[in-house]
Symmetry: C2
Subunit: 192 residues, 2 copies
DNA sequence: AGTACGCATTGACTTTTATCAATAAGATTT
DNA sequence: AAATCTTATTGATAAAAGTCAATGCGTACT
């Protein structure tokens, strides 16, 4: 049970048997089907979600009714509406499954207790957050690039996501329309 | 000495006298003049910088020779090239002073030791990083907005920065040209 | 099997933003 | 005080991206 979760954890820190046992008491397994919601805008985001298998996305819906993709999450990744998760405010994101998925849910209170009880986990959380910070910084810097360069960076950085997700969602993630991305791709393939 | 630094720290955690003394041994004070560099692209970013007074910015220079502002940092804020800082790779950012500033420098090794020796500081670092993550997430979401909305959010979120920084730098921070921002502002003032 | 839906593409057109060049007012330097 | 930067603005034009509508294809649904 939860092999992916602990494997990921062990990449950064070493846990004793007892510590792992403590962990297990806080974990909430959940399977969801494609297109099922795990969080809807307006609800409180009670859980941080670890993806053991499958693929989730978070997104908002803008005034024109278009989805704006915020994040994707593959196996081994975390996803949540961080702001709602830690403040208890209503979520601004929807999170749903793009593939049938297996998840581990964990509440903010649980994470706080774990950080208290298992200092190594506090360190893990720090490192985790720092990586996420750097990834965001990188992504933001790509917003200065033009359509083609932005798409190239995406393919480079997350080839697996590009493969498994419909193109119009990639476009949204990159802050583009589906049409614009389609045309850019055509140009790219025409050149080589 | 370093009153701003410790005041900021005390907002999140409580330090004993001894702990504070430990801290002080790792801090490197530095004053810099307006326009002076504290980091240049290509150099290793050896320090995280805490601003006690003044205003810094980090930026890159793109192919066309334009500055692209990455971050501003006011009193009480941290700034660094996080990726270079933790990996030791050459920095991709320049950091310089927009005003005469008083700084506290601290190395990555120092931060690691402090996180080890003072567990409260590890917690602080985690919370700090989490806030920075959320700020980035928010900023990225604003990139979907049009010029005017983007600028409004900026004024709302960081009115002090908007006041103290030239407009063309605000434009760059928002991923716009100076001309576009100037025109948007004109329209806004015309309407009310 | 047939219908509906999601996805990608294309064309025509509009809107937004960038680019280039010029000007002018302040601030800073010498 | 004069000369030089920096900053903000404006106009003309070009480039990039968005919008709207239509088509075709494949897959899922029942």
């Amino acid at each position: 049970m939860h092999e992916v979760f602990f494997t990921k954890l062990r990449e950064s820190i070493t846990l004793t048997e007892e510590e792992e046992a403590i962990f297990r008491t806080y974990l909430l397994p959940k399977k969801i089907r494609k297109k099922q919601y795990i969080l809807q805008e307006g609800d409180a985001c009670k859980y941080a979600i670890f993806v053991e298998k499958g693929l989730l996305r978070s997104y908002t819906v803008n005034e024109k009714g278009n989805d704006q993709i915020v994040q994707f999450a593959l196996e081994g990744w975390w996803i949540t509406d961080m702001y709602s998760f830690i403040t208890g405010e209503p979520a601004r994101y929807n999170i749903d499954a793009l593939e049938e998925s297996e998840l581990v849910l964990i509440s903010n209170a649980a994470l706080e207790e774990l950080r208290q009880r298992i200092p190594k986990f506090l360190e893990f959380s720090f490192l985790q957050m720092r990586s996420a910070y750097i990834a965001f910084e990188k992504r933001l810097s790509y917003m200065n690039l033009n359509t083609e360069e932005r798409y190239k960076k995406m393919v480079e950085t997350y080839p697996d996501i590009v493969q498994r997700v419909p193109q119009h969602m990639i476009a949204s993630y990159l802050g583009l329309t589906a049409e614009t991305l389609s045309r850019a791709r055509k140009q790219m393939s025409a050149r080589k």
